[in-house]
């Protein structure tokens, strides 16, 4: 029980009348990388957006069941606090266009009105940018707009923006699908590195990527959790026929 940070208990999610997640039971391990896989439309995005309570922002979206964060029911906490404890990185890099790199990194504090001294912010920026491997590249350009960076750099900046709030969990929704192979490789290395201090849940369409970096894999199909287990086992000896078919590329 100790090692499980996130725990779904009979969790259902809906868009209006349509049931998207049909009773998910899933325990995620602390400081591990869990990959969420499955064909398009099976509910991967919905699943991770349910973790940081972003799902409910869509009009008509609702959910039932429980998601526990270290034993606390996320759905009984204020959504804004949940989102500060659980960071999210999106498919397309989305740095704040009106902010420079520095401001982007500390935006979690400034936008939330959390006051910090200049010195604290300076060291937070350096520490976080170092963590995402961006410091050397941008230390001379901290006061330039984040949108001038390359796609891969922007995505690392977005990861830094989330990390600066020191989240317990980092959610990534296909974070490399808009990037070239080189930038993808750097993000993958970074994610592996980050897992030392934060629990990672990553949606990916890329089977090879899941195999490369994840410790655990959850396979979703039509809103149901078909199979969940250590990535190695799941990839070599899948228990379910649907998992096997997906891994062999039978459906996309």
């Amino acid at each position: 029980m100790e090692s499980q940070v996130l725990s779904f208990q009979n969790f259902h999610a809906y868009f209006s009348e349509q049931e998207i997640l049909k009773g998910i039971n899933l325990d995620l391990e602390k400081n591990r990388i869990t990959a969420i896989m499955g064909p398009s439309g099976c509910g991967k995005t919905t699943l991770i957006r349910s973790i940081n309570r972003m799902h409910e922002l869509t009009p008509g979206a609702r959910s039932s069941g429980r998601v526990l964060l270290s034993g606390e029911d996320l759905y009984k906490m204020p959504a804004m606090l949940v989102r500060r404890r659980i960071g999210m990185v999106f498919q397309r890099p989305n740095p704040f266009p009106i902010m420079n790199i520095y401001e982007n990194v500390v935006s979690g504090y400034t936008l939330n009105g959390i006051r910090k001294s200049r010195v604290e912010l300076d060291s937070l920026v350096e520490e976080t940018l170092r963590k995402v491997g961006l410091w050397e590249e941008v230390k001379e350009h901290l006061h330039k707009r984040g949108t001038f960076l390359s796609g891969g750099q922007q995505q690392r900046l977005c990861i830094a923006r989330s990390l600066a709030l020191k989240p317990e969990v980092l959610l990534l929704d296909e974070p490399t699908s808009a990037l070239d192979p080189k930038a993808t490789a750097r993000i993958e290395e970074l994610v592996v590195e980050l897992a030392k201090e934060v629990t990672i849940v990553m949606v990916t369409h890329n089977i090879a990527q899941a195999a490369r970096i994840s410790d655990f894999t959850a396979f979703l199909y039509l809103g149901e959790l078909v199979e969940y287990g250590q990535t190695e086992k799941l990839f070599t000896v899948p228990k379910d026929k649907r998992t096997e078919e997906y891994l062999s590329g039978k459906f996309g």
Partner: protein, 280 residues
């Protein structure tokens, strides 16, 4: 082969016709500009811009009180209309499909279509009659009513253009909805909003009708919003409808200044929209 040639010829004729009518459509604009420039330029001088209107029969006279009045009333009108317009624009953009939003949107469209003279009469009834005096303040209110739909529309359209991903980025950091709007979305849309303000100002700067029964006009220099005040269109109206030919010249000069102001505002709006546009 013959058919092709004929079709090419037809095409040419058609293009020529379109071009011809496009020029005709522009003709009124050039005629207006040409006339005003020709008639107005002779009155332009530093004294014209810096002196008060002269009493009838005397030489000279300027429009300084009208310039000040237009500045004051337009500034007040912007201050009155901006807060409700921004809030209404946010509401319309965020709650697009709500029945109330549709009603507000429709209502603003109707308000935009209300003839300006009617707006003037309404403010006369609601403000001037109630307070018992003509004032720049009531004039500004009338102008504000006319700016409101323009600015609201531009705030709404600006917010709609901002990618959803930006809002999500902010919300995902645990930022409240209100702060997300005011600290992320509105700043990102500042270019569009400023553009809307400039267009709103350009729209009302030349309005006479809403001021006739409200600000009323004044031959004196008045900076007090609770007193009657002149404005460029009012002074043009007064000068032009007077029996003195010399005042007609002043009217042309003031028209030139007014057209120039509106033109500058429009150019600024365009340049600003380009320069301040945020790349997403």
């Amino acid at each position: 082969m013959k058919g092709t040639k004929r079709r090419i010829l037809q095409d040419r004729i058609f293009q020529g016709t379109v071009l011809f009518f496009a020029m005709i459509a522009l003709a009124p604009l050039f005629l207006i500009l040409f006339t005003i420039l020709r008639k107005g330029i002779s009155s332009l001088s530093l004294t014209f811009l810096t002196t008060l209107p002269a009493p009838p029969g005397e030489e000279g006279g300027g429009i300084v009180n009208a310039l000040a009045g237009t500045g004051i009333m337009v500034a007040l009108a912007t201050a009155f209309s901006l807060p409700p317009a921004v809030l209404a624009g946010i509401y319309l953009a965020e709650e697009r499909e709500r029945p109330l939003a549709k009603m507000v949107r429709g209502g603003l469209e109707i308000l935009q279509g209300v003839p300006s003279i009617v707006v003037g009469i309404l403010i006369y009834l609601w403000v001037v009659k109630v307070t018992g005096f003509f004032s720049a303040l009531s004039g500004a209110l009338a102008l504000a009513m006319m700016m409101l739909p323009v600015i609201t529309k531009s705030v709404e359209e600006t917010l709609l253009l901002i990618p959803h991903s930006l809002k999500e980025a902010s919300l995902a950091l645990g930022v409240s909805y209100g702060r997300t709007i005011f600290k992320v979305l509105l700043p990102a849309g500042m270019a569009g909003i400023l553009n809307g303000i400039l267009l709103g100002v350009a729209r009302v700067a030349g309005e006479t009708a809403p001021l006739l029964f409200t600000a009323f006009g004044s031959p004196f220099m008045n900076l007090n919003p609770l007193k009657p005040m002149s404005s460029l269109p009012l002074i043009i109206f007064n000068y032009a409808s007077s029996p003195y030919p010399q005042w007609h010249d002043l009217a042309w000069g003031a028209s030139l200044i007014l057209i120039f102001l509106v033109f500058v505002l429009n150019v600024l709006a365009r340049l600003g929209a380009k320069k301040w546009r945020v790349k997403f």
